[in-house]
Amino acid sequence: MNRTRGALARTGQYLALVCYLVFLAFPLFWLLSTALKSPQELGSVDPSWLPRHPSLDSFSAAFEQQPLARSALNSLIVAGCAAAVSVAVAVPAAYAMVRYRSPVSKAATGWILVSQMFPFVLVIIPLFMVLKGFHLINSLTGLVLVYVVWNLPFALWMLQGYVRAVPASLEEAAAIDGCGRFRTLVSVVFPLLTPGLVATVMFSFVTAWNEFFFALVLLKSPEKQTMSVILTHFIGAEGAADLGPLAAAAVMATLPSLLFFALLQRRLVSGIMSGAVKG
């Protein structure tokens, strides 16, 4: 009896998972199908899930009209750097904020929330002026810097949650074993944070990859523009869009993030095992 119940529960789980995935992933399918349809089919009142006469015309049009490959490379550089720097800077800080009771930690925590609450439209203009003062307009470095600062509050706030979940007793044990402060951090705490770290890296990467407004106002040279800016070039006045090429370009813009996810998701597995056993 126990076994049938187990099997039933399993089936239920798979069923629920499939429902979730259909809901979450069907637009990717829809996007692909849109990219493969002809303009005539897109203007039809009788939409179908699968293109009737699939063609790659939209893809070639998208590559012809806009510098997609170049912009993808720019996006990759910017998002990669932003993610790496954000996390490198955020992990130690989040740790310090949790483990030390200090007015600085408190002020920082308050700041994190306020900075996420204030309308970003009002921050953009002064930020623009600061960057101009540093001659960081029209430079990818400037954009990376903006993204790092933009991601930091989130990264700090989330990582604090994960640090709090790490049993402090582990650190104490390590200290008793004679590990120094930084040794303890590197060999005991960080491994335990791996899932949280991975989540944060993913987050920072995707935010930077998708971010649009700063990239729009900061980058002027066509050869520096990122993918999300290029995408809007397929949209005309009054929301009219060149659907086929837009969908094709959007597929190209979506895939790298997904690939990145597919590679990284294995790392979402707990570090407790590896960390604790070695430690």
């Binding site: 806009q66 101009k132 003062g133 540093f134 307009i137 729009l216 949209i235 929301g239 009219a240 869009a241």
Partner: protein, 435 residues
């Protein structure tokens, strides 16, 4: 004004960049005299982007290094935000492609150069006064209007011929009453006579008021005021009547943007769709094989000036940033882009009507195909949209007019309630900008 500009800028900069002054305050504006001029183009259609880039390349080949131009691609979707940020931050493009409607606040804010002293005589003569009106406000000319887009009726030829209705021409358009009759004839079974796409109802409603001698925005004692009298509301009432009484206009289309009505149009669900002139490109591209369509002029009002065929437009413009040091070069580039041949090529690429007298006569555009000739014939009926140059118009549009018109067209408020909102709430907003 100069000195005040300077003071404000300094004050703002000082307040804004406390952090900058602390750290790297030495940095001043970039750009300046060296490097290419940035030309922000909003060309969207593939052909138009190609023409723009080709013209820029041609210019760069013929001119010395100091006058080189860099093509920067922008998008209609976000041009206002992009410009506002870069103007405020002091790093705007030198030559700016935009729409007259969007220039009002930038011109008042002192960000755009007044072109009056810069315009070459030939260019001034090329473009009729009615078009120059469209870019003139605050006592100056702030852009060269070069492309314009009237509204037209795009009709399903088969359904139109079957109904037996007279096919209107630019010389002899339908009257509004005739249009209502035709819509009734066309409404059969699942087919509606017309689909008014009203996701953005305000511009169309105001611009079409000109056909019946209205304007909605009037000048009284040197101030802008809103009125919504019979002549102003004639077309608005007619649309309401078609949706709710005659049921010749599809109610569901009211929430759609222009391009959303096309699938229904191709499927014969809507016989006529009033759309902007450039939508012909999408119709041409998406129409199923064998689908035939015609471009017709908008209906005309009776007893109104211009034979009731006038309509308001907000043209596309080329402007120069006030901060540019090389205004003469920028102007020379604009003059190059708007030479008759070039203007006609740009118009063709974006499926729009050029403003220039000679450009309108270019053989490439004078073809009956795809309704080109209809658009060119009505070019002389186009006037400055009454909303151009009115400060506070965007706020009135978003906060008052869009919701009120949506509610009225949707049938949830009456005409008098609509009038109250548009006029009373509206004038209060305009008053704030005209203190």
């Amino acid at each position: 004004m100069r000195r005040r500009d300077f003071l404000t800028t300094t004050a703002a900069a000082a307040a804004a960049t406390g952090a900058t002054t602390l750290l790297g305050g030495c940095g001043s504006g970039s750009g300046g005299d060296s490097g290419p001029l940035d030309y922000l183009s909003l060309a969207w259609q593939k052909e138009s982007i190609e023409v723009n880039k080709a013209l820029v390349a041609e210019w760069n080949k013929a001119n010395p290094r100091s006058a080189q131009v860099r093509y920067v691609q922008g998008s209609w979707d976000n041009v206002h935000d992009q410009l506002l940020t870069s103007f405020e931050g002091g790093a705007a493009p030198d030559v700016i492609h935009d729409e007259a409607n969007d220039l009002t606040d930038f011109a008042h804010g002192g960000y755009l150069a007044d072109l009056r002293g810069l315009l070459p005589a030939s260019l001034k003569k090329q473009i009729p006064d009615a078009s120059w009106d469209m870019a003139s406000f605050a006592g100056g000319v702030y852009g060269v209007p070069f492309l314009q887009e009237p509204r037209v009726l795009i009709a399903n030829r088969e359904l139109l011929e079957k109904s037996g209705a007279r096919t209107p021409t630019a010389q002899h358009p339908w009257s509004w009453a005739e249009f209502e009759d035709v819509a009734r004839e066309l409404t059969r079974g699942r087919t509606y006579g017309v689909a008014w796409s009203m996701k953005e109802p305000v511009n169309q409603s105001v611009n079409l008021a000109l056909t019946t001698g209205g304007a909605v925005f009037h000048r009284e004692g040197g101030k802008n005021v809103i009125r919504f009298d019979r002549a102003d509301s004639h077309v608005v009432e007619l649309i309401h009547r078609q949706v709710h009484k005659d049921r010749t206009a599809a109610r569901s289309a009211l929430g759609m943007a222009g391009s959303d009505t096309l699938p229904g149009f191709f499927a014969g669900r809507y016989a006529i769709v009033p759309l902007n002139f450039s939508f012909r490109q999408q119709v041409e591209q998406q129409a199923p094989d064998g689908f035939e369509w015609v471009t017709l002029p908008m209906p005309a009002g009776s007893g109104a000036p211009g034979g009731g065929q006038l309509q308001g437009v907000s043209p596309q413009t080329l402007s120069i940033s006030q901060d540019t040091k090389r205004k003469k070069t920028a102007m020379a580039f604009i003059a190059f882009m708007t030479r008759p041949r070039h203007m006609a090529r740009l118009a063709e690429g974006d499926w729009l009507v050029p403003t220039g007298r000679d450009a309108l006569r270019e053989p490439a555009l004078n073809t009956a195909e795809h309704g080109w000739s209809t658009g060119l014939r009505i070019a002389s009926d186009l006037r400055a949209s009454p909303v151009l140059g009115v400060r506070g118009y965007p706020e009135w549009k978003d906060k008052v007019a869009t919701p009120a018109l949506q509610e009225y067209y949707g049938g949830s408020i009456s005409l008098s309630a609509l009038r109250d909102k548009l006029v009373e709430d509206g004038n209060r907003i305009l008053a704030r900008y005209q203190r």
